[in-house]
């Protein structure tokens, strides 16, 4: 209730401000003003509780989860994902790795964990809370996903190929909307996602709190929702397809400073 009221107040302030109306992109100011009102810290706190909570058949917490920097090492870990993990033989993003840790450390089943991968305004999902908590601890770190291992090269190459792969009932590819500079879908500006300058400020701020829906959103959700709008079948959570697209976009953003979790309109 409180957070909605604050967000509304921020939107109202923007509407009434004459200076904002003169700006090129109204969203820049809108996002700036909503930043102070967004309850990011509260979400991160819930994420921390879930990280430390003993759960599953093995009654274990996630505190020994290895996100690539060693068991339990969270500082800067998110900024170095996706990357290749020897124990699974796969290139994994944060969310896939969290699922892996829940399965291996807590003894939970994939089906149970992924029963509700994406939450809503009433209740974010466990993976969303955890993503916010883990990502926060990479704030200020350079984005540095894996690019050297052959599997990482493969993931990038597949992501690049999928980016312009026309598919689905309506023949779209990622480039239908995100292949050219300065396009809009309705009133929303579309970033050209194969351009490092345009993609890196975005990758630097995911996962995020989305003001318009009062919900937490992650990159797995972003890919899923794009495919939904493309009228394809549903991509499987953490699949090679989704992880390769995330790898492609993140490698394009390499070198930028991670400044999330972010706020989206």
């Amino acid at each position: 209730m409180m957070k909605r009221a604050l967000a509304c107040a921020a939107v109202l302030a923007l509407t009434l401000s004459p200076a904002a109306a003169q700006q090129k992109s109204p969203y820049a100011d809108y996002q700036k003003k909503t930043t102070e009102a967004a309850p990011l810290e509260l979400f991160e706190l819930v994420g921390e509780e879930l990280w430390k909570k003993k759960q599953g058949p093995k009654s274990a917490s996630l505190e020994q989860c290895d996100l690539g920097q060693g068991p339990g090492k969270l500082k800067g870990a998110y900024a170095r994902l996706p990357r290749y993990f020897k124990d699974t033989g796969e290139v994994m993003d944060l969310e896939s790795r969290l699922v892996h840790c829940m399965m291996s450390l807590q003894g939970r089943s994939r089906e149970e964990i992924l029963k509700r991968p994406f939450g809503n305004a009433d209740k974010p999902s466990e993976l969303e809370y955890l993503s916010m908590y883990v990502a926060r601890q990479s704030n200020g770190f350079k984005i540095d996903p894996g690019t050297r291992h052959p599997k990482e090269k493969e993931a990038y190459a597949l992501g690049e190929k999928l980016f312009s792969w026309r598919t689905g009932l309506w023949d779209f590819s990622c480039t239908s909307c995100h292949g050219e500079e300065g396009k809009r879908i309705r009133a929303s500006e579309l970033p050209q996602l194969d351009d490092p300058k345009q993609v890196s400020p975005l990758i630097a701020t995911w996962p995020a709190y989305r003001v318009s829906t009062s919900s937490l959103i992650t990159l797995q959700w972003r890919m899923n929702n794009c495919f939904q709008q493309m009228r394809t079948a549903e991509p499987i959570f953490g699949s090679e397809t989704v992880n390769s697209l995330i790898t492609y976009l993140t490698v394009k953003s390499k070198g930028a400073t991670y400044s999330g979790p972010g706020i989206k309109r």
């Binding site: 090269k153 597949l158 312009s164 792969w165 598919t167 009932l169 309506w170 879908i185 079948a233 090679e240």
Partner: protein, 201 residues
Amino acid sequence: MITKSTLGAAVAALVLSPAASAEPSAREVQEILKRDFRPRGQAKMDRMDQDAVQRLCTTTNNKPPADLAKKLEADQMRTIDFPKGSLMGNWKEGAKIAWSGQGMQWHEDPKLPGGGGCYNCHEMSPQREAFGTIGPSLAAFGKKRGNGIEMQKYVYGKIYNAKAYNLCSEMPRFGTTNSLTEEQIKDLTAYLLDPASPVNK
């Protein structure tokens, strides 16, 4: 004189460029998609099969050789079922269909009428300011071009199957994919061509 930043860019390009051998073949990509997607609601797995148009446009980066494009466009033209008589429906209904972005998604009820989502990409009526720019502006479309039977046929056909006119167009094939009904496409045709439609005001 090589500056630090150009050197950095060169190193980055070297590191970022994937080895040529890492690139998957089209067949591999198709198999990966078959494995990594699942049917949900009305969105079945057949949506992941590339047809000849999607395949050619993907492999040629939307620049197909002219002769091949012509041949495939003719094939697409044959999918269009032109009704007899006037193709102008009710522009008021067309206005709603043009604005609605619903339809054909896995979470939606397939029994509900779908929209055309026209405003996602096109400017149309001056009353609607939230229009996209992926497609060309259609403002005053009929006013500029008239609304004779040939123009009606072009608009109806273009909405029914845009690939019959421009093989690698980014516009969906609304009729061929059963995303819009014959009546809905007629209503949209009227929305673009009827002199009373706000598009032509």
